[in-house]
């Protein structure tokens, strides 16, 4: 039993048929060709598959594709169109990532955080990112980059 769903993926309308039990992460990667959400655990532990669903971070391995019907899905591909967002720019300048596997999830978690709270404290950043595991960096370079986004923004005012 297949079901037709329509969603906006990175600001583009997409209509496709899915099985009711298809996981959104798999549909994004296998059917919609969006590879930035990564498979790290398939049970919501690591945050590598993070996407923005109607602007809120969601573990795309924990929801079904049919649940995204009629909703807006944003991945890192849709975040930066030819230029980097301030979050990406800061992470780049701080050499925050090593292997980069956790990067798409971190970028989106940080984007959500700064959208809700443009002036986060170090503790705010730590809490917002506590669901994104990274095995390479020890997090320090990531946290400092995210704090730096607001400092750069306030300087440019």
């Amino acid at each position: 039993m297949r079901k037709q769903i329509t969603l906006r993926l990175n600001d583009e309308p997409r209509t496709l048929e899915v099985q009711p039990n298809d996981i959104l992460l798999d549909v994004l990667r296998e059917k919609l060709g969006v590879k930035s959400p990564k498979i790290g655990c398939e049970r919501g532990d690591c945050g590598a598959c993070t996407i923005l669903l109607d602007g809120k971070t969601v573990r795309s391995c924990l929801i079904l594709a049919i649940e995204a019907d009629g909703h807006e899905v944003m991945t890192v591909e849709g975040l930066s169109r030819g230029s980097l967002t301030p979050v990406q720019q800061a992470l780049l300048e701080h050499n925050s990532f090593q292997c980069g596997f956790c990067a798409p999830g971190v970028v989106l978690a940080a984007t959500e955080l700064l959208g809700d709270n443009p002036h986060p404290t170090e503790q705010d950043v730590k809490e917002a990112l506590s669901g994104n595991l990274c095995r390479c960096t020890g997090y320090q370079s990531i946290i400092e980059a995210i704090i730096d986004v607001q400092e750069k923004a306030s300087k440019s005012l």
């Binding site: 050499n95 596997f101 809490e127 595991l133």
Partner: protein
């Protein structure tokens, strides 16, 4: 105009001192300013790229999510593979019935061990693995059969329809079980009498996991003696013995292993795989598939984390290759997280006993170290791991007489292998805590006992390791001063503590894994007449930044922007061999190869331009994308023009460079493990808070100083130090591979949630200092940084916990239950003064009141083999072992 290279390039630089606290002085501190580099042709040049905090060349791809990992590859008509794995830990395979699976819709091929009968293994001495088990499974998770189907669901359904019948065999689940199992030498054959594992009515062979190894379930035993430890103990004022246990843990890369195989139109096989060692995978594939290596191409995809966990050739790589050959279609496999846990090859659980003799001033007179490694079900790198648990004790503090005995056993658990620090974090933890205890017993300062007895730079150790530059004294000074260690040590309030530890690690293994005399790393450089430079090298970037290091070094020599260089790596068809991203070898070895290739290219350009423009070659220099006359800087041409002149003069411009480590000083049997072109050094201070009511340890801050030789890029170096501290923190406090017992040995929690690793909330603050004492063997003096900084972290934390609550935790990880148990035992004793026992401590060192402790009480009795005896260098030794007859004659 002199090209203002520095200013131009500064545009690409990033701020390295990404520090917020303290605001004025950065967290990176170098002991020396970046000096002038003396080039091999005698000319000197200020460094423009090396030592600068450039971005990684692949940084942009990372932040935009565009890095293409193995699982991101999709090919037309691609099939999906699932692997059926054993659910029993040790059994003979009686029967495999694949008929139902074959008949299922969407299934294209099903294979079993019969399709891949050739054994393989990373070490030539341990060819004990099969892509699919032939007749026996040795652990839960052993691969038994594999399916290729049109989609993942169909493959999964078919995998579950395969029926396997097993005849169970006795299960070995611990070091003690393995040593006592029937068939082991010197052991009573009746396990019930020796307290060994019990299962009635089995023959001796049934207990044996492998039909090779030293005996029974003993995979490897080694014994080495340098100098005379008994004589050394006689000179000691204090002799101390301790027992430690370091639990196994795993790499936990965020990216699960994945591979895609395809047969090209010409019948050649291509495998993309998330591997740290494409060259070794290439060799293993040729062997297992019985195909000429020339018809196989292995491309390592960027690793989503490795840490040693992707250094072995793996069954799934062989399986998809075979399925692609059988079906003629591309085949992909991506392991589940649970499968990654069972692939493992992580940190060996090691039980250790150490006995040290010391003078009153803390000078070590002799050390005797024994290690017992739980190897799991296969050999993997285990023989090397065994030697490594005894090799690097000697490179920090002077140990004039040293004896090492080690044993690795097979158990029915996932195989252990190399994880960051490979075999050395365990003994380093033991050694540094042991030294802390000796210092206390001798009433010496833990700083002084270390700093006063350091190995000399440019010296040979008792086991013939050649130490080069040695910045450990500077490392110790940095962290002791920055942390205010001397004022805090033994003076913090109860529940707060501070601890110090040091360490050292290799900058690449001195010997290759398979015996040969060829270079360990090769680099090929191609210069395009339009100014493009392409570097090709077999090394693979696993996140550590090896692609960037290649670009930086070449850019430095050719005076160009590193971001203009095309870096093409880890493709066995296109790139010269590099042995792989393991043993912290890439910056030093690949870096030296790149340096040679780049200097050859530079010399070609300079020669051609010198002839053409009639300017002496010694006056020409490459900088800022131009070639100019240093005495007449207005005369300059672009880099592209220089290439054109050279191409017109010499033909197509391509150069190669390669690197072979210097020969080892040790010539004895076992001398192959431990030598390295250069050793990095670290000192770390940990400050902790221990809650005595809950036993929870919180690490507040770690100060760490790393002797890097020279930082090719201080920003990337910093990342490696912080990442190592993070991983050491996880190992020290929470990470463990834990199995259910009762002869089942299933992993207790193969998931990212329940296998505890530090999140942002557990990670401590890290203050990093880089010590730069350039080593003559490193490119621009560089040594390793990827692994060494992990090593001092667990012992520094253990020593700090003792300072905080005055109980010794002689077992890693230091979990709350262990801390609490030791505290409770101590408090019970204080309430009941009549009790005579001390802390229930080691039970070994007598005559002193020992602090309460948690940890193993003893090690198994083992009949060690006669050691290989070697005279130390200062005693007229040549690095060769003393012949057996001579030993007996002396006795």
């Amino acid at each position: 105009m002199i090209p203002s290279a520095v200013a131009e390039i500064a545009g690409f630089c990033m701020q390295v001192t990404r520090t917020r606290d303290p605001p004025k002085s950065g967290r990176i501190t170098a002991t020396k300013p970046y000096p002038v580099h003396l080039m091999k042709n005698g000319s000197s040049k200020h460094l423009e790229v090396v030592g600068k905090p450039f971005r990684k060349v692949d940084a942009s791809a990372k932040v935009t999510g565009q890095t293409k990992f193995a699982d991101d590859i999709v090919l037309p008509r691609m099939l999906y593979c699932k692997i059926l794995r054993s659910h029993v830990p040790h059994a003979l395979i009686r029967k495999i019935d694949t008929s139902k699976a074959v008949a299922m819709p969407g299934v294209v091929a099903v294979i079993t061990g019969k399709s891949l009968p050739i054994p393989y293994g990373i070490l030539p001495v341990s060819q004990d693995e099969h892509a699919l088990c032939l007749d026996k499974v040795r652990m839960i998770g052993d691969p038994v059969a594999a399916v290729a189907a049109i989609d993942e669901d169909a493959a999964f359904e078919a995998m579950n329809a395969i029926e396997v019948e097993y005849d169970p065999l006795p299960v070995i689940s611990s070091i003690q079980d393995a040593l006592r199992s029937p068939g082991s030498a010197h052991m009573d054959d009746n396990p019930s009498r020796t307290g060994g594992p019990q299962l009635a009515g089995e023959n001796k062979e049934a207990w044996r996991i492998h039909g090779y190894g030293d005996h029974g379930n003993v995979h490897k035993m080694v014994a080495l003696e340098f100098g005379d430890v008994e004589e050394g103990f006689k000179q000691a004022d204090l002799i101390r013995e301790d027992v430690f246990f370091y639990e196994g843990n795993t790499h936990l890369p965020m990216e699960q292993h994945a591979a895609v195989a395809q047969v090209d139109g010409d019948g050649k096989l291509c495998l993309w795989s998330s591997t740290q060692t494409p060259h070794y995978v290439h060799r293993a594939l040729a062997k297992v598939l019985e195909m000429p290596a020339s018809r196989i191409r292995v491309i390592a995809t960027p690793n989503g984390g490795g840490f040693g966990g992707k250094s072995d050739p793996f069954p799934h790589e062989m399986i998809v290759s075979k399925l692609a050959l059988l079906t003629g279609r591309p085949v992909k496999v991506t392991l589940t997280r649970e499968e990654v846990f069972y692939c493992h090859r992580g940190r060996h659980p090691v039980l250790m006993w150490v006995k040290t003799g010391a003078k009153k001033d803390g000078a070590i007179t002799a050390m005797h170290f024994r290690s017992f490694l739980d190897g799991g079900a296969y050999g993997s790198y285990g023989v090397a791991s065994t030697y490594y648990t005894g090799a690097l004790q000697t490179v920090t503090y002077k140990i004039p007489n040293y004896k090492f005995e080690g044993v690795r056993v097979f158990t029915n658990k996932p195989p252990c292998g190399p994880k960051r620090g490979h075999g050395t974090p365990q003994p380093r933890y033991a050694l540094e805590v042991h030294l802390d205890k000796i210092a206390e017993q001798l009433r010496l300062d833990p700083v002084a006992i270390r700093k006063n007895h350091l190995v000399e730079p440019y010296s040979l150790t008792s086991n013939y390791l050649r130490v080069g530059s040695m910045g450990l004294a500077a490392c110790i000074d940095k962290v002791v001063t920055a942390s205010d260690f001397k004022n805090k040590f033994r003076n913090l309030p109860y529940g707060k503590g501070i601890g110090l530890a040091c360490a050292s690690y290799l900058s690449g293994a001195g010997l290759p894994i398979y015996w040969n005399h060829m270079p360990h790393s090769g680099v090929q450089l191609r210069l395009d007449r339009q100014g493009g430079v392409c570097v090709m090298c077999g090394s693979i970037d696993i996140g550590q930044g090896s692609d960037s290091v290649l670009a930086y070094i070449i850019a430095e020599v050719l005076g160009i922007d590193p971001f203009d260089i095309r870096v093409l790596t880890a493709d066995t068809d296109l790139t010269p061999v590099d042995l792989g991203s393991y043993s912290s070898r890439v910056t030093l070895m690949t870096g030296n190869a790149a340096l040679e290739a780049a200097e050859r290219a530079r010399d070609l350009l300079i020669r051609a331009v010198s002839e053409k423009m009639n300017i002496p070659a010694t006056r020409l220099s490459l900088s800022g994308g131009r070639l100019f006359d240093v005495e007449n800087p207005e005369t300059s041409i672009s880099f592209a023009e220089a290439v054109q002149i050279a191409e017109a003069r010499f033909g197509t411009i391509g150069t190669v460079g390669s690197y072979t480590p210097p020969p080892s000083a040790g010539k004895y049997k076992g001398a192959g493990v431990g030598p390295s072109p250069a050793y990095s050094y670290d000192a770390a201070v940990a400050e902790v808070e221990v809650d005595p009511r809950t036993g929870i340890v919180r690490v507040e801050r770690i100060w760490i100083a790393h002797d890097i030789g020279r930082a090719i890029n201080p920003a990337l170096t910093l990342g490696q130090v912080e990442g190592s501290v993070y991983m050491g923190l996880g190992e020290a406090l929470m990470e463990e591979m834990s199995y259910r017992t009762n002869r089942n040995v299933v992993h207790k929690f193969p998931s990212l949630l329940e296998y505890k690793s530090p999140t942002t909330l557990e990670m401590c603050d890290v203050k990093t200092f880089l010590i730069e004492d350039p080593d003559p063997n490193g490119p621009f003096g560089a040594k390793e940084v990827g692994q060494g900084p992990l090593l001092p972290v667990p012992p520094a934390i253990a020593n700090a916990v003792y300072d905080a609550v005055q109980v010794r935790i002689d077992e890693v990880p230091i979990t709350p239950d262990k801390v609490l148990s030791a505290i409770q035992k101590r408090d019970e004793k204080q309430e009941d003064e009549g009790e005579s026992a001390n802390g229930g401590g080691t039970g070994i060192t007598r005559g002193v009141e020992e602090p309460h402790r948690y940890g193993p009480k003893s090690v198994p009795e083992v009949d060690w083999p006669e050691p290989v005896r070697v005279k130390p260098p200062w005693d007229g030794g040549t690095g060769k072992e003393i012949l057996r007859e001579a030993v007996h004659a002396r006795e």
